[in-house]
């Protein structure tokens, strides 16, 4: 057992913070920043709802519920912002904002997340936009290998190498095994084509 586990003689408390555990990640400054963004988003949605054409009567207008939703969302953003200000978010908000950005890029976990986002984005782009299918009809083997298989092996091996930090051979073996298992289950088991194969 790890050394930082609580002493078994001390009763532990079960702490409930909602169906999704969100309590620890919130700070007043973050809430204020979120309130600004959501407020701007709500205003944009409201303007777009207001200019939607009214085909029949105003009470059946396409923009009616979107408009009401945007107004109430704006109200919620104001409420969230006001609460954050009451809790001291405005004190040195600009400094906190730049410090948070600085801290984000200084934090190894966050940088790894950005790298992962980028890798996944590029991987999806390659699969969907640069696709091809090879048909192998040789030595009694009839098989179609698509861009999905190739790109998945390459990107998965890369992601495994970066995060798992095992040898390249192991990463490639896992990537190849998993890719072909997925293809076998989806394509051959349930006749669902892989992305990029249509």
């Amino acid at each position: 057992m790890s050394s930082d586990e609580p002493n078994s003689e001390q009763p532990q408390e079960a702490y409930f913070s909602g169906e999704e555990d969100v309590a620890e990640r919130t700070t007043p400054a973050k809430d204020l920043g979120a309130a600004y963004v959501i407020g701007i988003f709500a205003i944009g949605a409201l303007i777009l709802a207001a200019i939607m054409p009214v085909v029949q009567k105003p009470y059946t207008a396409a923009g009616l519920l979107p408009g009401l939703t945007a107004i109430t969302l704006l109200g919620m953003a104001i409420g969230l912002g006001r609460r954050a200000i009451r809790m001291g978010a405005k004190v040195g908000f600009k400094d906190k904002f730049f410090a948070a950005i600085h801290a984000f890029f200084a934090n190894e976990e966050d940088v790894r997340t950005v790298i992962l986002f980028t890798l996944v984005g590029v991987y999806i782009f390659f699969i969907l936009e640069l696709n091809f299918v090879f048909r192998i009809d040789a030595f009694g083997l009839h098989r179609a290998v698509g861009s999905f298989e190739l790109y998945t092996v390459i990107f998965l091996a890369g992601i495994l190498k970066y995060f798992w930090k095992s040898s390249l051979k192991n990463c490639l073996l896992v990537a190849v095994g998993w890719t072909f298992a997925l293809t076998a289950i989806f394509v051959h088991g349930f006749s669902i084509p892989m992305p990029g194969m249509l």
Binding site: P66, L116, K165
Partner: protein, 497 residues
């Protein structure tokens, strides 16, 4: 019809599919960082290639298995496989440290089995009542019910600050309005792009929010855990359940009722049953609470498993999913063109019986597989998270593509993954967004239809019929107003204090 359904559900192929679902679910739920919703969201892709009955059996198996699976890692490595297993972790791991891990897990298995039974029996008992009530719902009531569903989901999922849950719900509503609207075919928020005219499907969003976003969040983290060398013999001790029979029944009721409330899932159920159990326990038993109590495990596990049956109540009768995992069941049904809601019995005769039987079969299979899979799961825990999590990325992409065989769905899942990650970092819950995407079109259509009816009644000065015909609507208005009042003036103030 019932006999036919039983025989059909007991066919070797469907039994095998259900077993596969239960096995996948238990393993998935047991792995730290992989939640029930994630399992459900990603395995929809696989269900897309199955016929209706097969996909139902598979998804029910995954759901039943994954809710229990969380208990394995909770007891053995002190990390809850799913968030609802936190109370089980506190009690079970304390017992494991005393060398009673096998008995603690056995208790969790027996309690889960019992919990599922309570949930199934209450589901069977209350569906006819709820269906009869649901048939009384007119446009105005459906609109109010949809809005209440989103509001209460926001309240339940956001903890101390319901406002944040509502905000994600309202953002989800705005996303739900994207596309050509139903009455006049007016494009909304499409910015002239054809691809947005079909609207935003909630299935890729579910995959993005609960699949990709979770991988992106969890993979870069480093959190090692210690693997136990010996688990001990796993014997589900039914004498323990007999001893805590009243606690089991009470927790089962709590779990089912909580499951039936939109947005309140297994997490709320297990914590609430655990808390009530602690208050109701004998002083001698209460002293063990937090240090390894079998009664506490019974309370938490019965409740979170009873939640499965409860969450299907509003899903099947009203088309409003009880939680995000039930939304995945709804998605699997909708992919097979099954329209759930008040008319489910007439439009899909026998389907409800098939679902009941599926749940019962899945429960028996869960019981057997839980005992068989504990030791293999311990071996799986020794695999690093950095090896397992990347494997989910291609699965997310394949799942998003499989639901519509459309590239746009893959991009949508990716964008939803980014949005989910950002919202999570800012402390916003994600489930209300999915619920709003499901309920948004329903709310919009019913809102405008009911306004049209109300205006015609007001023009004829037919005031009395408005209230007389909409007494359920009046009750729902009070409930909606109270939900917001409670969130703003009670819980909001408590959070600030």
């Amino acid at each position: 019809m019932t006999t036919q359904m039983i025989l059909h559900a007991l066919s070797p192929y469907l039994l095998f599919i259900c077993l596969a679902g239960v096995t996948l679910g238990i393993i998935w739920g047991a792995m730290p960082g992989l939640s029930t919703t994630m399992a459900m969201a990603l395995l929809i892709g696989l269900a897309a290639g199955m016929d209706q009955d097969t996909s139902i059996m598979f998804m029910i198996g995954v759901y039943t298995g994954s809710v229990f699976g969380g208990a394995i890692s909770a007891v053995l490595i002190n990390i809850p496989g799913t968030p609802d297993a936190v109370p089980t972790m506190i009690e079970g791991h304390s017992l494991a440290k005393k060398g009673e891990g096998g008995l603690a897990l056995g208790t969790a298995i027996a309690a889960s089995f019992m919990g599922n039974w309570v949930g199934i029996l209450l589901l069977i008992s209350f569906i006819p009542l709820l269906l009869a009530l649901a048939l009384q719902f007119k446009s105005w009531e459906m609109f109010l019910l949809s809005m209440w569903g989103i509001a209460v989901c926001g309240s339940m999922s956001a903890g101390e600050l319901p406002m944040k849950g509502w905000i994600t719900g309202w953002l989800g509503l705005l996303f739900a309005f994207i596309g050509l609207e139903g009455l006049d075919g007016v494009p909304r928020y499409t910015f002239g792009t054809e691809i947005l005219e079909d609207g935003i499907s909630y299935i890729p969003v579910l995959i993005g929010l609960f699949g990709l976003a979770e991988v992106l969040r969890v993979l870069p983290q480093t959190s090692p855990y210690t693997i136990p060398s010996d688990v001990g013999r796993i014997v589900p001790p039914f004498h323990v359940l007999r001893k805590y029979a009243w606690s089991s029944v009470r927790s089962g009721l709590v779990g089912t009722i909580i499951g039936a409330i939109p947005g309140a899932g297994a997490n709320v159920a297990s914590f609430l049953a655990y808390d009530i159990g602690k208050r109701q326990a004998s002083p001698e038993e209460r002293a063990k609470w937090g240090k390894g109590s079998y009664e506490a495990i019974v309370c938490a596990e019965v409740a979170n498993n009873a939640n499965v049956g409860g969450s299907l109540l509003p899903t099947l009768t009203l088309g409003i999913p009880g939680n995000a995992a039930a939304a995945a069941i709804l998605a699997a049904l909708e992919m097979k063109n099954v329209v759930v809601g008040p008319t489910i019995q007439t439009e899909n005769p026998g389907l409800i019986y098939f679902i009941y039987i599926g749940l019962i079969i899945a429960n028996f299979l869960m019981y057997g597989m839980a005992i068989a899979l504990v030791k293999p799961c311990v071996k799986l825990f020794s695999l690093p998270r950095t090896l397992l999590m990347p494997l989910i990325i291609p699965l997310c992409i394949v799942a998003a593509f499989a639901v519509g065989l459309d590239d746009f769905h893959v991009y949508l899942a990716f964008v939803a993954g980014i949005i989910g990650y950002v919202l999570h970092r800012f402390g916003f819950p994600l489930a209300p967004m999915v619920l709003a995407l499901i309920l948004g079109p329903l709310a919009d259509e019913n809102f405008r239809r009911s306004l049209r009816i109300f205006v015609s009644k007001f023009e004829t000065k037919d005031w009395t019929s408005v209230v007389a015909e909409h007494w359920i609507g009046v009750i729902l208005i009070v409930v909606v107003v109270y939900t917001f009042y409670d969130g703003i003036f009670k819980r909001g103030k408590e959070a600030e204090a």
